[in-house]
Amino acid sequence: MSSGLGNIKVHCDICNQPVEFQVSQDKIREQKDGILRVALAHGDPLHAIIVYVDKNLRVRGVEVSDSFQMEGTRAETVVSASEVAENLSESMGEPCFQALYAYSEIEERERAAFVLDKTILRTICEAGVICLSKIRQKIAFLEKAMGDRIDLPQIEVVCERYVQEGLIKRI
């Protein structure tokens, strides 16, 4: 990927106008999940939308903020993890999982669990919210370590079991 700025144009559902902005590709690369969340304040009266941009500079989703408050000259916008995941889930058409506990809280319970299962759970807990293919990407090192292929259905079965056990949530 090249560095520098990329131009992006989205439609704002509040003012019904196109909004143009620039994003730094370096900034996207810094994101753990590869998605940059941009809060765009614009218009008169001032309002904001949240745009999700991936590393290919594709817009993964646009959300309208329910409220907009200014503190001094700084716009404060909080995007909850579940909102991000729902958005990703819709745009990518695959299940996402949300951690309900910090891994340190459930580590002892899972002490004897198989390394694959434990690693999947740890990955979800560390990410907060993560989609299936991203989990696979993050645990790919285990394929080499075990000399074995780990496919998406395998990961999903493990996730579903943890959902049933109440440690994570499918969203």
């Binding site: 002490r111 004897a112 390394v115 299962d117 090192f141 074995d148």
Partner: protein, 162 residues
């Protein structure tokens, strides 16, 4: 000056030790990052190493025609546990796709048999052995749906094979 010459006698049951050593060596190299990572702990390291050992033992089971490439996962599981002689008392109960494996009087327990203090850890190879062996023979990777390890006592592991 002394001279010692070893000539291998044909004893297929001894080949399993060779295979386990091969799996252990390969696993140590391929899984070194996991093994050296404290996040995975002793059980995680054993899981990955035992997966390699399970694959190698399955190759020997195939060589000796104890199993064939068309053996069901249940047959592979039964022969693997029987040939490796993990425990004095071992039962495999099939319930649909789920195999309930109960190991009593384990013969490879580092604590009970070896007398080592495991410092509260577990290092059970059963999950990795089974996963590696069944995965190699049938291409179906079993899920370890429930693991209840009571070191030196009774260990229960459920495998979902589908």
């Amino acid at each position: 000056m002394s001279f010692f010459r070893f000539r291998r006698k044909k004893d297929p049951s001894r080949n399993y030790l060779n295979r386990m050593a091969i799996g252990l060596g390969a696993g140590l190299v391929k899984a070194r990052d996991v093994i050296l990572n404290p996040d995975f702990g002793p059980q995680g390291a054993m899981d990955v190493l035992a997966t390699w050992m399970g694959q190698e033992i399955a190759k020997e089971l195939l060589n000796q025609k104890v199993i064939t490439a068309t053996s069901t996962p249940e047959e592979v599981l039964e022969k693997l546990l029987e040939e490796v002689r993990i425990a004095e008392d071992l039962s495999v109960e099939m319930d649909g796709d789920v195999a309930h494996v109960v190991v009593q009087n384990c013969l490879i327990c580092p604590r009970k048999v070896g007398g080592y203090d495991l410092e509260g850890n577990t290092a059970c190879p059963v999950g990795g052995l089974v996963r590696g062996a069944i995965g190699l023979v049938s291409g179906k990777t079993p899920q370890l749906s429930k693991i209840d390890l009571k070191t030196g006592e009774i260990c229960k592991t459920d495998f979902t094979i589908s």
